[in-house]
């Protein structure tokens, strides 16, 4: 579809915002940075900027992008504006894995923080469970995925409550803190593989953009126009799950971005996924990294988790948006 001038403006605009965010957000934070010291690469300013703020901003940008892209992918495949990694159970699987690890007091596993391994394992378990049960019937149907996701959600939340109840005071506090969802300082050793993974999967998802257009109309519609529907649904579900799980592993469950960003983007740039998906990724990244920058500045030196800021700002905005339409 030939992108209209409107779509092109949104693409360029969100790309510029993404780039500007990468440059400007690291400057925000509890300790004011002296620009002269930064230019001279003097310590500790230089280390604060590069080791703490830049890596954290990049994490926010790519985590927000990955969650938004996964959201718009699931929404296209299931033709359901409420489909997100959360409603499909992937994120709650990851959360349960992480919470189990916190409750067991694990610290590192195979060199990575144990929480990450727990989250990835949890998401993988849900992925196999859902795909396994859907694939046994010979096809991946939107309805089956959504229903399995909802069931998974209830089971995981119940299990988390149970573990929370048995945990000690300190563990219970860290579980509650983790469940809020936040973008924290991260080493480059973990950031680089995360960014590479997100970039790789996002590239595959974007390559299939026309197929997501077809699936957004219907499975038969897509099949009659040359799409291999079962294979696409399987690939899309796996790609969205890996995007969501690797993000949840690093940030905790930040739910809102995957719902609100694709929704706003769709109402602004239209439904062509060739424009919608890149815009969702870029805008989602800016939103999450922006919420994090805001959260570490407004109550400095205390930090408000990015997930909380996102919910505080995004919730009312979404309600307002819905009321405007209605």
């Amino acid at each position: 579809m030939n992108a209209g001038p409107n779509a092109r403006a949104w693409l360029v605009g969100s790309a510029l915002a993404f780039a500007a965010g990468a440059v400007l957000f690291p400057l925000a934070g509890p300790a004011p940075l002296d620009y002269g010291a930064l230019l001279a690469r003097r310590e500790p300013e230089w280390s604060i900027l590069v080791q703490l703020r830049v890596s954290r901003t990049l994490l926010g940008l790519f985590a927000g992008g990955a969650l938004s892209l996964a959201g718009s992918l699931f929404q296209a495949m299931l033709r359901e504006a409420l489909a997100t990694p959360y409603t499909l159970g992937v994120s709650s699987g990851a959360s349960l894995g992480a919470v189990i690890v916190i409750a067991m007091g694990g610290h590192t596993f195979l060199g990575v923080p144990a929480i990450w391994s727990g989250a990835l394992a949890g998401a993988a378990a849900v992925l196999f469970l859902v795909v396994g049960s859907a694939a046994r019937q010979g096809q991946m149907s939107a309805f089956g995925l959504l229903l399995t996701g909802i069931a998974t959600n209830s089971v995981c939340s119940a299990a988390i409550l149970l573990i929370h109840g048995f945990a000690s005071m300190a563990q219970s506090f860290s579980i509650a803190r983790w469940l809020l969802g936040s973008v924290d300082a991260i080493g480059y050793g973990a950031l680089v593989p995360f960014v590479a993974l997100v970039a790789l999967i996002s590239a595959w998802v974007l390559r299939q953009a026309r197929h997501w257009n077809l699936l957004a109309v219907g499975e038969d519609w897509a099949s009659a126009r040359g799409a291999r529907v079962s294979r696409l649904m399987l690939g899309g579900y796996a790609a969205g799950s890996v995007l969501a799980a690797s993000t949840v592993a690093l940030t905790g469950p930040i739910g809102f971005v995957g719902l609100i960003v694709p929704h706003v983007a769709r109402s602004r740039v239209g439904a062509d996924h060739r424009v919608l998906m890149p815009c969702s990724f870029l805008m989602g990244g800016v939103l999450l990294a922006g919420c994090d920058a805001l959260g570490r500045s407004i109550l400095a030196p205390a930090e408000v988790p990015a997930g909380a800021i996102m919910a505080l700002v995004g919730g009312p905005y979404l309600v307002w948006l819905v009321r405007q339409r209605g």
């Binding site: 579809m1 030939n2 033709r79 390559r207 953009a209 026309r210 257009n213 077809l214 957004a216 109309v217 219907g218 038969d220 519609w221 099949s223 009659a224 126009r225 040359g226 799409a227 291999r228 769709r266 239209g270 439904a271 062509d272 060739r274």
Partner: protein, 255 residues
């Protein structure tokens, strides 16, 4: 010359219930076939099996003498199009974007060419959709949306058109226009099978009638044969009569 479409002993079971049994027919180039039958006769099921959207429980479907299973989905989509009975009403796409999707199997790259865009404009002009080409499908009326879907099928430039109730929601003038379009397509050599409940439309425009009843093909004859011996009307209702209309055309009336 092999028939474009050859359906042999196709069956379809949903659980224990048998919907279609031993359905066989062939369709040649230039035929405009009305597929009819009462509610639940399996018309839509047969259409989606022939379109390759679901595998038959038994039997075979050959297009150009080749089993449908041997066609890649993209290759099949360049030859066969399927107009669904309905798509969801709240589609976020603009009308022209839906029509453009008919070009996806033809366009190899991520973007469409001038040829593709021209095919979209032609299809929308033929189906009278230009007035609402930029509107979102969710804001269109049922009949307008139906015309957009038909345009999407025409833009696909298929040789075999499978249309599941193409004239639903259409006003009478648009129903006639729709069947005239189908006749144009068949005069260019395409083959067209349309599900319809309108006996007069079928007898006026179609070259051949296929009626499904009792899970299988109960009637398969040319329109001329159908006009000559109208006992088959009993397959639909005992209250139908075939008359000659005032202008000489067929006219099914009811008591």
């Amino acid at each position: 010359m092999t028939a474009l479409l050859s359906v042999a002993q196709v069956s379809w079971r949903a659980g224990a219930a048998s919907i279609l049994e031993g359905v066989s027919f062939e369709a040649g180039h230039g035929e405009l076939i009305a597929l009819m039958g009462r509610n639940g006769a399996g018309k839509s099921t047969l259409m989606s099996i022939v379109a390759g959207l679901r595998p038959a429980s038994g039997g075979s479907v050959l297009v150009d003498g080749r089993s449908l299973d041997d066609w890649s989905p993209a290759e099949r989509a360049r030859t066969v199009c399927h107009l669904p009975q309905a798509v969801r009403a709240d589609l976020p796409f603009a009308a022209w974007q839906l029509v453009l999707m008919g070009r996806y199997p033809h366009a190899n790259s991520w973007f469409e060419s001038e040829t593709d865009r021209a095919a979209v404009e032609t299809a929308m002009r033929r189906t009278d959709c230009e007035a609402f080409r930029d509107r979102r499908a969710s804001t269109l009326s049922g009949g307008e949306r139906q015309r957009v879907l038909l345009a999407a099928c025409l833009a696909q430039e298929p040789r075999l058109l499978l249309l599941d109730e193409p004239s639903t929601f259409l006003d009478i003038d648009q129903q006639l226009h729709c069947f005239s379009l189908l006749r144009e397509e068949t005069q260019r050599g395409a083959t067209c099978i349309a599900v319809t409940h309108d006996l007069n439309l079928a007898l006026t425009f179609c070259t051949r009638l296929i009626v499904l009843a009792e899970h299988t093909v109960a009637l398969d004859c040319t329109s001329a044969e159908a006009l000559a011996s109208p006992e088959w009307l009993g397959l639909f209702s005992s209250r139908l009569h075939l008359n000659a209309g005032p202008s000489g055309g067929p006219w099914v009336s009811f008591t």
